[in-house]
């Protein structure tokens, strides 16, 4: 396999509703990513596009509809689609397109426009349940997260107040992100007093629905060394899918994230992720999810993530910052684009270009992770300089 680097990144603001169409958002992010590494569309050999359910837009083959915005015409093109796991998976796909030797430059564009779906994009998930055994019960997507959070809290004796600190931390981090949708100074009491959506999940435990796009440029070693002094290398990739029968696995721990992480760490030669990873962007569409995923990423023992949080070790100035970007909770959750935003954050952090968000101490290794499909896929990427 050839060495592959990330050489450019771009993104739009994340917002509840964008005036721009999905194509326009994709085009803005893609153009910005290419400009950032001084390449043009002519230099791009292939395109990978990530965008989540067609049902958000109700456009059949949505990625193909969006593909002009992604610069894909008359080029080898594919769509990555693992629901919420898409954003990191498209980076993994870009890696193997280039690592295989088939292409030298791959443009990744992840776009989501959730606001078209009325009255609320959650309705688009109505068909993500089993149509025989689950949907007839009048399901709400939030049930799943409530079950998982409850199981996780009960298994380890963790409290809602402790978990609320994830929202406090990430929304605060997002104050320094120029594209953030919901940056805020809030308190644990604000989270606890916010509306109960599906207990134990409260309104401020939940990331918003968003419109937005993020793009990355991947290049072979030869191209990367020619065009930049600061390549960020892809050191490992991993992904793994668990069962659709949720009653058949214990929700307290995301085993599939662990398997995906082990695949990526093995490739990266990482033996002790707790010591070797400088910054992490675990997927945080819900507050408890950052902790749950950090455990799956082997950044601490099962049930211990909350201790690192409460000790302040995961703050931007802490020993191992988690979600220094502000995460899905603060920057926003434009489903497929969110994971790619996390990869972009690691890219900017490792290059020392994260501006006000810059983690001190020159971080050298970072991991980004996303989660999705039917809540049972883990996608992981390790970047290093």
């Amino acid at each position: 396999m050839r060495k592959v680097a990330v050489v450019g990144a771009g993104m739009t603001k994340f917002m509840r509703r964008a005036q721009e169409t999905g194509k326009e958002l994709a085009w803005q992010a893609a153009g910005m990513a290419l400009d950032s590494c001084e390449l043009t569309l002519k230099d791009v050999d292939c395109v990978v596009m990530g965008t989540a359910p067609d049902a958000f837009d109700m456009i059949h083959m949505k990625a193909e509809y969006l593909s002009d915005g992604a610069g894909a015409w008359r080029k080898p093109y594919m769509r990555g689609f693992l629901g919420g796991g898409t954003g990191v998976f498209v980076a993994n796909q870009a890696w193997y397109h280039v690592a295989s030797g088939l292409f030298d430059v791959c443009l990744v564009v992840a776009e989501e426009k959730m606001s078209s779906c009325l009255p609320h994009p959650q309705g688009a998930f109505v068909t993500c349940w089993d149509q025989f055994t689950e949907s007839p019960l009048g399901t709400s997507l939030l049930w799943f997260f409530a079950w998982e959070m409850n199981r996780y809290m009960t298994a380890h004796g963790i409290t809602e107040r402790e978990i609320a600190q994830v929202s406090v931390k990430n929304k605060k981090n997002a104050l320094d992100h120029p594209c953030a949708q919901l940056p805020a100074e809030i308190t644990v009491d604000d989270v606890m007093n916010s509306e109960v959506m599906a207990w134990p999940v409260k309104r401020l435990d939940v990331s918003p629905t968003s419109d937005g796009a993020v793009a990355l440029v991947f290049a072979s070693e030869e191209v990367a060394k020619r065009i930049t002094d600061k390549p960020v290398w892809v050191e490992g990739v991993g992904w793994c899918l668990d069962t659709m029968y949720i009653g058949q696995r214990d929700l307290y721990y995301p085993k599939y994230v662990e398997y995906a992480a082990r695949m990526a760490y093995d490739m990266a030669g990482i033996k002790d992720p707790r010591a070797e990873i400088d910054i992490a962007e675990p997927y945080d569409p819900f507050s408890y999810k950052e902790l749950h995923h950090a455990e799956g990423l082997l950044l601490c023992d099962k049930g211990e993530a909350v201790k690192l949080l409460v000790n302040g070790e995961t703050q931007r100035t802490g020993r191992q910052p988690w979600c220094p970007s502000g995460g899905a909770l603060g920057v926003g959750n434009a489903i497929a684009a969110t994971g790619t935003m996390k990869v972009a954050e690691i890219f900017w952090q490792l290059r020392g270009e994260a501006g006000k968000r810059q983690v001190p101490g020159k971080p050298r290794k970072g991991v980004a992770q996303a989660w999705g499909d039917e809540m049972q896929v883990g996608t992981v990427i390790v970047l290093g300089v």
Binding site: A29, W147, M197, W199, G355
Partner: protein, 167 residues
């Protein structure tokens, strides 16, 4: 590069922009209808629910109970044809007190969706609803029993069990 960007792209809209028609939109409400076949495994599962019984299958190789009933084991990747009748009692694996409906609309009275480990299945859970209890008194590990719809009202569906109540 990120720190040098002065203007990040994207134009946020607010609710007013749409209500006051400051921007143009095109609306469409699809009207689609589907009829899904239950197949062989689920077909028997639902036929048995109509009779007031919960049936699963057991894989002869890994000895695991498959619930809802299925005709192949996805781990051993082999045919499964041993039907096992399970109890209509179980243990709450996890639950929620849900104030939101399918499209995130708010409910006045909460529902209690839960995963219930079915007795006889060695810990395999199904998704259903709990009732006849103050929602805030539900606990993980609580024992529950199925409340079946009256026989004439059953139609071979998961909703033939009306809900589960505490034992």
């Amino acid at each position: 590069m990120s720190e040098k960007v002065k203007v990040w792209p994207g134009t946020p809209l607010g609710e007013k922009d749409i209500k006051e028609k400051r921007i143009l939109v095109t609306e469409w409400q699809p009207n689609l209808k589907y009829a899904w076949d239950t197949g062989i495994g689920y077909g028997k599962y639902f036929a048995e629910l109509k009779k007031g019984r919960i049936v699963g299958t057991r894989c002869a190789k890994c000895r695991r109970v498959l619930l809802p009933a299925r005709v192949f084991c996805e781990w051993c990747f082999r045919t499964v044809d041993e039907w096992v009748y399970l109890e209509d009692t179980g243990t709450v694996n996890t639950f929620s007190v849900a104030y939101t409906g399918t499209a995130a609309e708010r409910l006045k009275e909460p529902r209690i969706p839960a995963l219930i480990e079915i007795d006889g299945s060695h810990g395999v859970a199904i998704m259903h609803l709990i009732s006849e209890i103050d929602p805030w008194k539900v606990k993980i590990g609580m024992r529950v029993r199925a409340v079946w719809k009256p026989e004439p009202e059953r139609e071979g569906a998961i909703t033939d069990i009306a809900y589960w109540k505490p034992i």
